[in-house]
C-alpha cells in the first residue's frame, strides 16, 4: 500500500487552556480532498492553522512523505497554499498586483500563469481594479485565484465558498477539481457542501469547558 502523502498523527490543540481537538489522526493521499465539518467553534480553523504551522500543536505530528514537517518548516510552508477567513489582499493594490506580489512572496514568479488564474475565477474584467473597490465575493474570488496561482500541492482552505455566488462556486469547483486531478491535495473547512467527491472529517463539539474533548470521527464518503 502506498503511504499517504500527508499523515497527521495524534494532533492535539488547546486554545485558551481549553482542548479544541485531541489526538486527531488522518492521512491524505494525492488527489484527495478532505472536508472538515463540524459546529462553530469545533476547531476547524484551529486544525488548519495547526497543519500550516501557524499555531504549534500541543502534541502530535504532521508528516509529509513520511518526514515530520517541523524539521524543515520553510519547505513545508512552500508546499502550502493558504486561504483564511481574511483574504490577505491589499486594498490599495489592484487584483493583478495583489496576485503577482503574493506569488513572489511565495518565492515564485507568476508570469504567464497569472492569466490562467484570472480566467479560472472569472476575474479578467476586474484585473486592473483596486481591491478595495471590489465586493466581498469578488475579493474572495481574488483570494481563491491566489491559491490557484500558487501551484502548491496542498491547499488549506477556510470556508472557501463564503460570499461566492453560484457561478463563482462553480468556477471554484472546477479549479479545485483540476487541482485534485493533477495530484494535489486539499483540506477545506466548510459549512456548505463543496459538491466534490471527497472524504470528510467531522470535528467534535466543544460545548463547554467541562465537556470531554471528542476526537475527530473520520468517515469516507461523499461530502456532497
Amino acid at each position: 500500500m502506498v503511504p499517504p502523502l500527508l499523515e497527521v498523527t495524534g494532533l492535539s490543540c488547546r486554545r485558551g487552556g481549553r482542548p479544541v481537538f485531541d489526538r486527531l489522526s488522518f492521512g491524505l493521499g494525492a488527489g484527495e480532498l478532505l472536508a472538515l465539518t463540524g459546529r462553530n467553534g469545533s476547531g476547524k480553523t484551529s486544525l488548519l492553522r495547526a497543519l500550516a504551522g501557524l499555531t504549534p500543536p500541543e502534541a502530535g505530528t504532521v508528516a509529509w512523505q513520511g518526514v515530520d514537517v517541523a524539521e524543515d518548516p520553510e519547505t513545508w510552508r512552500g508546499r502550502l497554499a493558504w486561504l483564511g477567513h481574511l483574504e490577505g489582499l491589499k486594498g490599495d493594490l489592484t487584483v493583478i498586483e495583489n496576485l503577482a506580489v503574493a506569488e513572489r512572496l511565495r518565492g515564485g514568479e507568476a508570469g504567464d500563469r497569472l492569466d490562467g488564474a484570472l480566467v479560472a475565477l472569472d476575474l479578467t474584467g476586474l484585473a486592473a481594479r483596486e481591491v478595495r473597490t471590489l465586493s466581498a465575493g469578488q475579493r474572495r474570488r481574488t483570494a481563491l485565484a491566489r491559491v490557484v496561482l500558487s501551484q502548491a500541492p496542498l491547499w488549506l482552505l477556510d470556508e472557501p465558498l463564503n460570499a461566492l455566488d453560484a457561478p463563482a462556486q462553480a468556477a471554484f469547483r472546477t479549479a479545485l477539481q483540476a487541482h485534485l486531478a493533477a495530484g494535489g491535495l486539499a483540506i477545506a473547512a466548510t459549512h456548505a457542501e463543496l459538491g466534490i467527491e471527497g472524504r470528510s472529517l467531522e470535528l467534535g463539539p466543544t460545548l463547554s469547558s467541562t465537556s470531554p474533548p471528542l476526537g475527530g470521527e473520520e468517515h469516507d464518503g461523499d461530502v456532497a
Binding site: T75, R77, L80, W82, E87, K90, L93, A102
Partner: protein
C-alpha cells in the same frame, strides 16, 4: 525577485498610493519643531542651544506616529498570515518592513531636519551634523519602533503602549544624536558620536529582526 525586495517594493508602493500618510508625519514634524521658536521667542542663543534636542525629539515622535500601522495593517487584512507562511525567513520580512518604514519616514526626516534647523539659527556645520546624525540614528528608531509595533499587535490602545515601549529604548540614540551637535558647538568633532550611533544601529539590526519575528509569530497564533 526575492521575497525581501518584493515585500519592500510592495510597502513602498502602498505608501505611494496613499502619500497623505507620510505627508501627515512630515507635517507633524514641521509643525512640532516650528512651535518651539514661536513659544520660546527669538533669542537665537537659546534656540541654537536647544535646536538639536528639539529636532531629535520631534523626529522620534514623528517616526512613532507612523509605526502603529506598520504591522497592524497586515494583521487586519490577513496578509500577515501570508508572510508567516512564506517559504523564507520571517526575520527578513521584519527587516524589509522596517527598511520600508525608514525609507518613507527616517530618510525624509533626516533631510528635512537641517532645513528646519535654519529656523533655530544653527550654523552650516551644525546643520550638516544634524542631518548626518539623524541619517545614522533613525534606522535604530525604525527597528526599535518595529519591535514595539510587533509586540503591541492586537492590543487595544496599541499607540500609547507602543510609545511607552519604544521611547525608553530610544534614549541612547537620542542622547548621542542630540549630544553630537553640542560637542560640535564646544569645538570637538562628532566622529565619536556618529560611531556610537552607528554601533547602536548595528546592535538593533542584529537583534530586533529576530525579536520582531518572534512577536509576529505570537500574534499570528
Amino acid at each position: 525577485m526575492s521575497g525581501f525586495t518584493t515585500l519592500l517594493m510592495r510597502d513602498l508602493r502602498l505608501v505611494l498610493r496613499r502619500p497623505g500618510d507620510v505627508g501627515v508625519v512630515l507635517a507633524f514634524f514641521v509643525v512640532a519643531t516650528v512651535l518651539f521658536p514661536l513659544g520660546i521667542g527669538p533669542e537665537t542663543n537659546v534656540l541654537a542651544r536647544i535646536a538639536a534636542g528639539v529636532l531629535w525629539c520631534a523626529a522620534l515622535f514623528a517616526a512613532l506616529l507612523s509605526l502603529e500601522r506598520l504591522f497592524a495593517a497586515d494583521y487586519e487584512d490577513g496578509t500577515l498570515d501570508l508572510l508567516l507562511l512564506a517559504p523564507w525567513p520571517l526575520e527578513l520580512a521584519a527587516l524589509a518592513k522596517c527598511l520600508a518604514h525608514w525609507i518613507v519616514t527616517g530618510l525624509p526626516l533626516s533631510l528635512l531636519a537641517p532645513v528646519l534647523g535654519v529656523a533655530f539659527g544653527l550654523d552650516g556645520q551644525s546643520l550638516l551634523a544634524l542631518g548626518a546624525t539623524l541619517l545614522v540614528g533613525t534606522p535604530t528608531l525604525s527597528l526599535i519602533g518595529g519591535l514595539a509595533a510587533a509586540l503591541t499587535l492586537g492590543a487595544r490602545k496599541s499607540g500609547a503602549l507602543l510609545a511607552l515601549l519604544a521611547l525608553p529604548l530610544c534614549v541612547p540614540t537620542l542622547i548621542f544624536g542630540a549630544g553630537a551637535i553640542e560637542t560640535l558647538a564646544a569645538g570637538d568633532g562628532i566622529v565619536t558620536h556618529v560611531a556610537i550611533l552607528a554601533a547602536l544601529a548595528l546592535v538593533a539590526l542584529a537583534t530586533t529582526p529576530w525579536a520582531i519575528a518572534a512577536a509576529l509569530r505570537q500574534a499570528g497564533e
